[in-house]
Subunit: 160 residues, 8 copies
């Protein structure tokens, strides 16, 4: 099996159903990916080691998803030079505005490219990762164009 180009990390196994959208999208594009459960707060050491090892293993984009005081994406971004994309997960009390602000409001110096809260964000993180990879992979660019075309057709077919 191919070594992963995109790594997806999330703070808890319970985040997987939402983040499966990212996994499935990457797989549909034939992008080898890896899914990892690691917590910025419960496994700081392992998170740091895993993030630091990504580049050597050939990973090119990191997607990090978390909810509430969502530090995972920012913590990871501090430890790698790879582009890091963040997916804020819905939180039971505040709908995910806490997750969003915790991820997007990074100080100058360490960026996290943040996507929408929840399901659309999971899919879009994968698509943005594909767009990044496509810069040097014409085959992925072609698949992305096809995906857009398919989306286009689906919308056009849906008028009542």
């Amino acid at each position: 099996m191919d070594s992963p180009l995109v790594a997806i990390v999330m703070g808890s196994r319970s985040d997987l159903p939402v983040m499966q959208g990212a996994v499935d999208t990457l797989s549909a594009f034939g992008v080898p990916n890896e899914v990892k459960i690691l917590s910025a707060h419960r496994t700081p050491q392992e998170t740091a080691e895993w993030v630091r090892g990504l580049e050597t293993r050939g990973v090119q984009v990191l997607i990090a998803a978390a909810g509430g005081a969502a530090h995972l994406a920012g913590v990871a971004a501090a430890l790698t030079l790879l582009p890091v994309l963040g997916v804020p997960l819905q939180s039971p009390a505040l709908g995910g505005i806490d997750s969003l602000l915790s991820i997007v409001q990074m100080p100058a110096g360490v960026p996290v490219g943040t996507l929408a809260i929840g399901q659309p964000g999971a899919t879009n993180a994968a698509l943005l990762a594909v767009a990044i990879l496509a810069l040097s992979r014409p085959d992925l660019r072609k698949k992305l164009a096809d995906y857009r075309e398919e989306q286009r057709k689906k919308v056009l077919a849906s008028s009542p």
Copy 2:
């Protein structure tokens, strides 16, 4: 002069002082860039043409900044397969929460990697663009590592 690798578009000339942070950061990394004032609402046609032409001209990352009902990044993302990064600008009435939500809450299918509101977001959009370019440019990766190292030293030197 080199053809631009990163294009920066904003809705109004008055956004330039904030977005100059992105320009300066890119220039500091030696990344050729282009700055354009175009409005999703006031120049929709020219915006569409300009965005559609980016890829052919060799641009690899698009940074779009806007405030209020900030549609520029999403509109651009709909018209290109390039990675699009969005910078929400502070708005006079609501501080920029309107700009942020208008940019980040994109529906599944068309991603915008969103950065922080205002100045830190401008700098970070440039840094994320550099990180993306660095995937195929070891020299940029090296400069990014140096930039991080410099940041590190500055923080360490600042304890009272």
Copy 3:
């Protein structure tokens, strides 16, 4: 069949149950209308063409509904001189405050007359469209007066 005076566009077929309130209200007033599914992000070209063609086909008011980073109404308003009314749809994470701000906070120059989030907004967009048409159609003005009278009676009859 009469050519439509009001066009209703929404980003996804799943928005139709809410927007049916606008369709039904227009139909109750005998205002010929047209419903279209088009996405500012997934079908930008077709959206532009469709919006640009509205005036020639005799449409007088455009109603656009979207959720999240809701760009459809603003994008349409940039492409037509017709009055554009926006309906922010409820969003799963943030209840629709994202949709509302994305539609209402338009910059000076390109207005969108925004209605309430969700169901009441759908009905009211239709009623505002009728009020606009009624400026030159005394029959519609009469029907609007009757509608108000009916509402009045319903409220008065409902005290326990």
Copy 4:
């Protein structure tokens, strides 16, 4: 002097500097207009009488601006069949989110087409009024097209 086609009402004289943007825009389009200070709370009777008299005097669109618990637009909309446009004004404590929600979240039955908070909303209310009037006045449609063209040129001329 021509009888007014658009009436602008606001709750306090202190709102005039912001709403002057609406007056100036209407005047630039040659649309006769009338400015009135009336409060839904301090002059309910006079407000009701003035609103009820608008239609007879030939007014075609009503623009109402208010801040905080901004009831003026909704109260007016309840008393006339004319299209009512609302401008939420910035409030000292909450930036105008209170004004916005008080105006836009109208119940089904009585619509207020709401514009952006503050200055952009004032200009846009005038432009939307012009767009409504332009449906039966080709000269206004022409002026609106010219205005858009001017805006377009200004944006295009502003790239650095």
Copy 5:
């Protein structure tokens, strides 16, 4: 039957289940009350007449409940010198923050004493009305003291 001392008005029959809490509380205190469905927007004339007639009929406190762009309490307060208490109702999209701000943020000159969103607000509006009446009715003051005492006992009895 005694003439009502407290009048409760709400914009729609569907608000009654929540406002029944106010009715029941007043009845438990033996305070004659009247419940009325009237809408600031759908029955402005009847609302004005009904509010203007309250004082003559001996009503001493008015409780007004509404949701969304909740104008009923403010509109009523503009038309009577009686103390007006407002109950913001939960709204489907925004949880009632719109209702709250629309009621509480009244401009200087016309006060509405605002209670909590929804059920607790309904009960508390009744209790505040009783406290106001109790200023000249020692029997009500006594009942209020008893009510507090009962509450106290209930809490004290509930520790596990």
Copy 6:
């Protein structure tokens, strides 16, 4: 000098400039009042004693103003059967939304009639207190009617 009918309490001397609006309004109505600085958190004992003594001293309405985690009004309401009115003060970080929610969202059983954030709330708390006192004082009712009439005239005189 007359014994006070309305007591105004606030958490800090720095709140006085805003609350002076309440004092001045009461004085303009000839309502004897008392101003006290007491903190729910820094002087809990003295606050409790002072609140418990109000009724015996003939005070009929209590106005409590505080900012941030604004507990003063609720704490006072728990200790007296008098009607308690709350004024949320603007807070430096969050504009006063914290103060507002801390005062208005009281649980069922202990009501606080809450006014607008800051200056308008201060004036309106005094006016609501006057409206309450006016229920048994025809002279105050007359003055309140005069005040409204004056307000009315001021608004009517202010149209440009």
Copy 7:
């Protein structure tokens, strides 16, 4: 049975299911604790007495949970020199942002260490209490380290 080192107070029996998380966590650490239902608003006297008695009885940390206008933690903090930890409970209308701001935004002088809204906050209040006790109890420090280790292992075991 051992005298309690941590006391947990909440405003209503209905808060117990959420706060049971704090009880269970303390019990798992072998920390004797006491649960009390007391309301800042319904039982102010008993609350004050109970809080004032805590220190004498050997309690070292107080955990207070409340929702809405959540005054319990702040009121308690005003009456004891013990460290007070606050748990904001979810509220039906606003999700708990009201509870959070009412607890965390305390004025300088009387601190409440505030935890997350709802369930995670309940668990974390207990853990922070344990961390405080552990400063002088090596056995608790050891258990805390074990707890962290267990958490670590659980996360590590959960990757798919």
Copy 8:
């Protein structure tokens, strides 16, 4: 000089003016303290090492202050068993609600005791640290009682 009992860490030298309130308060209580500038994002390695070393050096409480996507407190809490207190700093765009949610909404397992946004939070973090230390230091308990008494007197002396 005594070895520090409380350590204060913040992400940037520019945070010092606000956090000086914590330093001054600790010094006024005679609590030896240490101030450190370290960033969770710019100096992750040094932050981790410094936090891990605190306990051995005899530090008993850690205060961490940050703004925006404020990860410092949570990151530190993950690396030490000491009680961690968080101070959310005001942010230019959103007033500090982003900082607050990023700090307080920690997942179950790793608590941060969060104080108010900005200046009051800085002072209160120090006071809560003192309260924690006072559990085993009667001299500090006495000073805390004196501080409260002084506060009490200042409030009592400030009534006009």
